[in-house]
Symmetry: C5
Subunit: 331 residues, 5 copies
């Protein structure tokens, strides 16, 4: 479920983003509250000698925790992940791209014409659906088998059979795209598409949509290198554990410099962890934007909207124009 909050931050105001701090869905609190419970339960069961040893360890950790280069690694890593995330959004195969040319180029208000347009449009939606099934958990849950795809009306049983007969060990999302192009070529021969230019436009747009699908597949296939993710994760959690030990409030009676105050809860360490872990969570959410996180794309909605809108545009609205009248600025 995408978390949309644009309209709430339309204007910059007094403590502008403060309203955002109180939201739960998609928030940092929801993501981190479990991790934050850990540090609160230590240091109650130690003997006196253990305490002195622990304090030495603590000072040692404190000294070196600062040397773990969390900030930069995180900064560059999150930037990389955010860029990939947005590029995937840009490459979502919306069928809108094809509905305008199909609606205006494939002629005929009779049944055959309607069937042609609807089938072409359906192939477009089917291509998108098949690639979404392979990259998105949420879509895969909704359409676990091809039967569900047929049931949902994206495919007819006849097509299902032809589809199954095409033997390929590889992903078959491109099959409806090939059907689309061949059907368009056939429509051209039948004269439903009047012109090679118009056919050309349809093929070009379909090829662009197929390229988007391939790009989505590519992002799913080639992830951010595992080493990078591991380096960043290790850096954040090691830093966290080092701080957990190093930032204990030591017994003020021992007179360690800078440890005059015993607050029982290491507020700043918690906050610091909060920031770093929150930053890492940004990456965790966005590294696969097709999951079911609060901030992931609502791909199922994209599929439903695509089918509904594009069918309307190519069928009901085909050559169904409002009467032209002069606008109010005429002369």
């Amino acid at each position: 479920m995408t978390v949309t909050y644009s309209s709430q931050v339309a204007n910059a105001t007094f403590f502008g983003f403060h309203r955002l701090l109180l939201r739960w869905r998609g928030s940092i609190y929801k993501l981190l509250y479990r991790e934050c419970l850990c540090p609160l339960s230590s240091r109650f069961f130690l003997s006196d000698y253990q305490k002195r040893l622990f304090e030495k360890l603590s000072l040692y950790c404190d000294q070196y925790a600062a040397q773990i280069p969390v900030t930069f690694v995180l900064g560059f890593y999150v930037t990389l992940v955010v860029n990939r995330w947005w590029n995937q959004f840009v490459n979502l195969p919306w069928p809108d791209r094809l509905m305008l040319p199909i609606s205006s180029c494939v002629k005929g208000k009779d049944e055959h014409g309607r069937l042609l347009r609807r089938t072409l449009m359906r192939y477009t939606n089917l291509t998108a659906l098949l690639i979404f099934r392979s990259v998105s958990n949420a879509v895969c849950k909704r359409f676990p088998t091809m039967d569900h795809v047929v049931e949902a009306g994206f495919m007819t049983p006849e097509e299902r059979k032809v589809f199954d007969n095409i033997r390929s060990p590889h992903l078959k999302y491109w099959i409806p795209a090939v059907w689309f192009c061949n059907l368009a070529a056939k429509a051209r021969q039948e004269g439903r598409i009047e012109d090679s230019i118009e056919l050309h436009m349809l093929l070009k747009e379909m090829n662009a949509l197929r390229a988007w699908c391939l790009t989505l597949f590519g992002y799913n296939w080639v992830s951010v290198p595992l080493v990078y993710t591991q380096v960043v994760t290790l850096a954040v959690y090691t830093f966290f554990f080092a701080c957990l030990i190093g930032r204990q409030f030591l017994d003020p009676a021992q007179g360690y410099p800078g440890h005059d105050l015993d607050l029982y809860i290491p507020v700043f360490t918690l906050l610091q962890f909060f920031f770093y872990a929150g930053w890492l969570k940004v990456a965790e959410q966005l590294i696969n934007p097709f999951g079911e996180d609060d901030d992931d794309f609502e791909v199922n909605w994209v599929i439903d909207r695509g089918l509904q809108v594009s069918m309307l545009a190519v069928d009901e609205m085909h050559m169904n124009l409002p009467h032209m009248t002069k606008d109010i600025y005429w002369n």
Copy 2:
């Protein structure tokens, strides 16, 4: 209202940007003066013992404030927001894109020709308007209902009826685009557009404009992940409160190192907050560039200009050419 100051910084001069420091509209002072009033009113009502405790707390805060990684988080975050902001500007659906081909490709100086060109142009403007209504507060205030759109002349009452009859639970900004394409196809059949190539150009440009609209919709739908915004906001405000306590001027009589001077107003803390909060305000202003902030795009102006200019270009200026004469460099 967009704040334009390009012409004032055309040349780099002595203390070049200083003139910009004295502006109020769109300035950092206007955005921050309320936040700055807060820190000035503390530390006047404490007993002696409380003062000592407060001083310990203060030193503790001072020590750890430096550990909050404000700078980098802000740097990367603001860069992300600024990029999104500019990309949205680049994707504004200016109707200019279509006015040139419509003016030269749709023939006929008679009334029907004029009506055709004006209607095509109006559909373009209407598409842009509908998407602006859904992303921009300012436009939404100006056109709260479809009645206002009709009144403003972007839509005729006939079109309004057809528009309302198309049932879709989703945003309907694409409807005028479909009308446009169908009307263009009809004009081709009537011979008003002489050539498939010219029709193709119109459809392609319209499809590009529709893609821009979808992109704007996408930016509005999928915001910067909420977690990221929360992490950054929390970092800045926590840092601020830690400094507020930590950078108090302690009683010089107590001899804390580095606290020899009591200035009553923590100048540098204020300045530091000023920078970080100002940087955050950049993000707050730009995260939704369609609001009513000083730095937001003047979308209402874009709409008005689009209608006025494009109507001129396709109607009055159609085939209304100045007489060709030899230029002064002839031979």
Copy 3:
């Protein structure tokens, strides 16, 4: 005036960039020498008590100056400005884009053909000139009124009249572009352009040029948010004044730690200011690349070259081919 030094740094050599350090035009020295005179004239007129107080203030400033996050703010800001600067360069509307298709697609070596090609080319140059006038100080100075444009031969008096009769409260740079498209459509009807494909190419290139113009207009209209510029400027100058006070060479006799040496001139403070202010000056120069700074684009040259070159290409060189002979590698 653009400062070109590419050829001087073609090869990396011993202390490779050192030659660049001795240049005056477009150099950091030229930009900063005035600012550098300020800090040299302080600390000569204080009583003894004032001196002690001043020293306390100085130590305090020194301690906190380091906390102003100048480096990162500057780094991200300058990167943003440099990107905008280069994008504006990339969007300069060179008429070269249209001279090739006009030269080969608009037929006829007779006077009418020549007139047609020259007029089309002139409209292209005029569009570019009009947008340059609105964004560039230097061009605006050269062509303060439309009379100067007519005088310089970019527009004929007939066109001037038609141009003035078109009433629009908005910038009118798009008018010659509409003329261009209509004139091309007319040439197609007259058979001077033989083919719709060729007409299509002309219209497409013109539309692309118009898009470039709109982009330039956009960069001029929507500047870098004022807040950002103010934050950065304030950070640099505050830092500077803090250092100015904080880095004074204190009386070594008072035994402040780290102040054993009295050099009279705070060399490193000056250097540090030099770097930060120099970095900021980079931004000041580039934020409006159409001014008259040493590093700004020489737009007037672009205009002159465009007219001269493109007229040559479409008129004198039209179908004026060298005789084809076999090259030396034939067989």
Copy 4:
């Protein structure tokens, strides 16, 4: 072998990335375990005097190790390498680009038609294969000579002969592309391709594929400047050796400040090295993404898939459409 882990991080959960920390293939452990064995075997064989000297050296190293600017150099360098890596992925010459237009534009279900489509498609795959051979070690191992290419069915013996007869000292990957274009032109003359528009589409797509190949060649030819790689590598390893000496646990009896605890294993130094070296390893893996690292692209799979899928699409599936029936949303 590409390491795909997208589906495992679809949702952000409790200690979300922790599962990734336990993987071996493509992991940081596999890459670094050898480097980590080095530091563990020092400091056991020194005399007392040597120990004191060693301690001085150690303190000195510790002091200056922090001055080596590892973090930023690495951050910028890795960002550069990651960008290049992804751009190379984006430019992989998938034959999908051509299979849609070939399938719908090259007519004829008879043997000659099939032969034509299959040959065109084979030339596409051959172009991709030839460029892969020149950039990828893995492909080069699989196809060490042109004989292997012929054997694998990408080339016929006749083509091999013609290919060998073309004398050029340069890489010959462009030869099948020229064949493709000439064959397409011939098919146009024979009427197998009915229209210039369709021929144009084929040529344009082929030219785009050739441009991708050239880009891959360019990335292989012009690496990241050697100096940059050397600077980064030297920085990381020098830093490592400085830490190795500087972070020894000194004899606590000597009372060096901050050396109260003797842990025998410098945990934090190891960790720090782990991060920096891991980050560098990211670059090492990605700098040539066509090798045989765990994270490199599986180019051999791309080649096989391309041939299988594209042959299916242009031969078996050509004009082999499922029967059109009304979909379930009809009316």
Copy 5:
């Protein structure tokens, strides 16, 4: 000479990049060894009093050297330069772009057809050569006058005359491009190019190549702003001299804190300088990638390869297809 080392880093291995550290050509050692000789020859000729003063100066320099913000300035600057460098590579005008369409669209195996194709191709190569001459030192040395261009076979003496007769004070690289377009238009009239679509493709590709040339010219004309380069160079060298003085090993007998060890050679200072200067050298090499540095593009090779390959493709290979036979996967 481009330094290619991709194949040596195909796989990440034990101390993976170590092999690269031992290369001389294009290496950091070759670039920096001269600079490194400087610091080794100081501090041998001072009297005792001078020594004490020198030590004070040294401590002072050491303290402030850290304040020069070398790292970030360098990081952002090098990133800018590297981006420009790669963009220039991407815009190299390879004639490959045109050889495919020319080979398949310009008909006729007779002498006139061959002459036409070869001449068109030669004009393409000539355009590229002329722009290379104006941006690259290496090409300029090889072709110092137009005579050399004629001699090398890129231009015929007839063309030379026509070229010289065209009077323009500006760079004339666009002249062969205009010839190309006019010649193509003439070939269309003669029927050698059968179709406007094909002519259109040729003109479009030529226009794209011309745009690349203009881009290269633009990169050469508008360098990285001089101020930026000066700021960075000054920062690195000032830092270097400050370290040179500040990091001297002071007489341990004077008991300055942190100066217990006298190593005679300031290893870490040298290393640190090594990194910063090496990083700057990356920029020095890449800022003009058309020079004769080890890492510059081998433009002369690009020119020769272009001519050889493209002539082959359009002449010898034109319609010289291998006999089509069934591939081994037929059925």
